[in-house]
């Protein structure tokens, strides 16, 4: 029983991290049909900014997190202004932006390398200790990760479901032309979505690095997993992506316990292949592309 709970705790933590790095990706794809390959670099940037603010400037953790959030938002906005906007009107936007963001990712990753060096660093945002209930230990770090992710998910759900900006995002995701004709400034919507997704990526980068440590390439693995989750859930489906992330996180923890760490990713990918065979539009997707 204790083992089951322990697996569940670690699985939900992994899932929470996946969810955090996935929602930004899903949001951008849903609203813009843009696969943001710079997501991984944004993750790393966020992690490093938090580290810099706490270690080099000696400021408290909440400020580190806030700095990461703001930096991510600014970078997202910059991606919109410098890359997405000039390409929006072009034919094959989806392919072009996919390749362009790979370039953006390389630039950002090189910037991290240049600014902070290639050596692995520790993320100072750590809460030591944990809660021991019966035989199960719940590290505060895991509680923090799950808490921050829950806050992010709730924030995104509230924004999309309950605000005017959210309505504009959902309408634009559904039908760009109709949204424009009903007066939505879609340029502004795109800017908001990329800013939001940049901020979410940076915060999730802080969370990921608090467990795995900081490396300029640290974003690659979470981004790959985020893509996997997006595809499993149905591209652009935000609530589906969050749910799929949690389920896959728990699944990964179970596989790690039963078969060993090395099988986790292989089985995850096998699962994706299975999903693509039986439900090419994703578990929560529908045949016609209904997004968000």
């Amino acid at each position: 029983m204790d083992v089951v709970l322990q697996i569940l705790v670690s699985g939900l933590t992994i899932g929470a991290m996946y969810a955090a790095s996935t929602i930004g990706l899903a949001l951008v794809y849903g609203a813009l049909n843009m696969l943001n390959m710079a997501q991984g670099a944004l993750l790393a940037f966020g992690g490093y900014v938090c580290m810099y603010v706490m270690d080099s400037l000696g400021l408290p953790a909440p400020l580190g997190l806030l700095a990461a959030l703001v930096t991510g938002g600014v970078l997202g906005l910059a991606i919109y202004a410098l890359v997405t906007r000039p390409m929006l009107g072009s034919a094959n936007f989806e392919t072009q932006i996919f390749i362009a963001t790979i370039g953006v990712g390389s630039v950002l990753q090189s910037a991290v390398l240049h600014l902070f060096g290639p050596q692995p660093k520790a993320q100072p945002l750590q809460i030591p200790g944990g809660l021991t209930l019966g035989g199960v230990t719940l590290p505060w770090q895991n509680v923090l990760i799950m808490g921050v992710t829950a806050l992010m998910l709730a924030g995104v759900a509230w924004l999309l479901g309950r605000t005017r900006a959210g309505l504009a995002i959902r309408a634009t995701a559904q039908n760009r032309v109709a949204a424009q004709l009903m007066g939505i400034r879609i340029g502004r919507v795109y800017a908001q979505v990329l800013m939001l997704s940049g901020a979410l990526a940076a915060v999730s980068g802080v969370m990921v690095s608090s467990l795995s440590g900081l490396l300029p390439t640290m974003g690659a693995d979470p981004m790959l997993k985020a893509f996997v989750i997006c595809v499993v859930a149905g591209l652009g489906n935000v609530p589906g992506a969050a749910l799929a992330a949690l389920v896959l996180g728990v699944l990964e923890a179970v596989i790690q316990y039963l078969f060993g760490v090395q099988y986790a990713f292989a089985i995850l990918l096998a699962l994706v292949i299975a999903v693509l065979i039986w439900r090419p539009y994703g578990l929560f997707g529908t045949r016609q592309v209904v997004r968000l």
Binding site: R164, A168, L181, M182
Partner: protein, 267 residues
């Protein structure tokens, strides 16, 4: 229509070509305030392209479009919406995963000018515009449903409600009754009359001639991007060219009979 006012909409020598294909050529016409202008013509005549030009999705290659004297030829679709032109589509263009009310709210919130205020919730004024638009088309009772679950007629009415929620001066309707039954067409006709009664100018494209002649103050028939007829609905059936290229003898005779039966169908 009052003749003393300057026209609401002026299209001045509007042309639109896609490469070597000319969809609309040198077309000039006006629409007065409160008028219903019917646009007909065979497939490929350039009717929908004309709407694309006016709504800013595909700006004119040459010529000018003026709304209330203001040049909107090259304005963005959003700006044209804010200037007062709304549009419904031939095919379903609702936001399928949004509720009926949310669909209309989009128009009510974003359709009017560009307030920069980042208000989180719709203002009472916007709520009112949403309620009014839903009442206008009779969808108030279904406002909680998801748009994707609605039958065809309700989707068409929902598009009209969304457009009306932007509080337009000019409403462009692209085949509002295409694919509807006789009874549903009558219902849409009553809806269009209610909209016209609020003073909104309407330009409608329709192949269902019964609908077009019953509603239009004036009819314009396009063929290969050019106007081949402009005038009263009654004059259509006497125009040789319209009969030849569009109506055909049979439809023309039926339409003439319909016109004789009474100009005004019960609304």
């Amino acid at each position: 229509m009052t003749t003393t006012d300057p026209p609401l909409l002026v299209c001045d020598s509007v042309a639109k070509s896609f490469g070597s294909l000319t969809a609309v050529r040198q077309l000039s016409f006006t629409a007065g305030r409160g008028e219903i202008l019917g646009v007909g013509g065979p497939n490929g005549a350039g009717k929908t392209t004309l709407f694309e030009v006016m709504s800013g999705l595909n700006p004119a290659t040459s010529g000018r479009v003026l709304l209330e004297g203001r040049d909107i030829t090259h304005a963005s679709p959003e700006a044209i919406c804010h200037a007062g032109i709304a549009r419904t589509f031939q095919l379903n263009a609702c936001f399928d995963s949004l509720t009926v009310r949310e669909n209309v709210e989009v128009g009510a919130i974003f359709g009017r000018s560009g307030r920069m205020l980042p208000n989180l919730r719709p203002s009472p004024e916007m709520q009112q515009a949403t309620d009014d638009a839903l009442d206008l088309v009779g969808l108030s009772a279904r406002q909680g449903l998801v748009a994707g679950s609605l039958p065809v007629l309700d989707r068409k009415l929902l598009m009209v409600a969304g457009a009306m929620a932007t509080r337009p001066k000019l409403l462009l309707m692209d085949e509002p009754v295409g694919g509807l039954t006789h009874a549903e067409t009558d219902l849409m006709m009553a809806t269009v009359r209610r909209i016209a009664a609020t003073g909104v100018t309407i330009i409608l494209i329709e192949h269902v001639m019964r609908f077009l002649v019953a509603l239009s103050d004036r009819v314009m028939i396009l063929h290969h991007g050019e106007r081949i007829y402009e005038g009263s609905a009654a004059g259509l059936v006497q125009d040789r060219r319209v009969i030849d290229v569009y109506l055909g003898e049979g439809a023309s005779a039926r339409l003439a009979a319909l016109l004789r039966e009474g100009r005004h169908e019960p609304a």
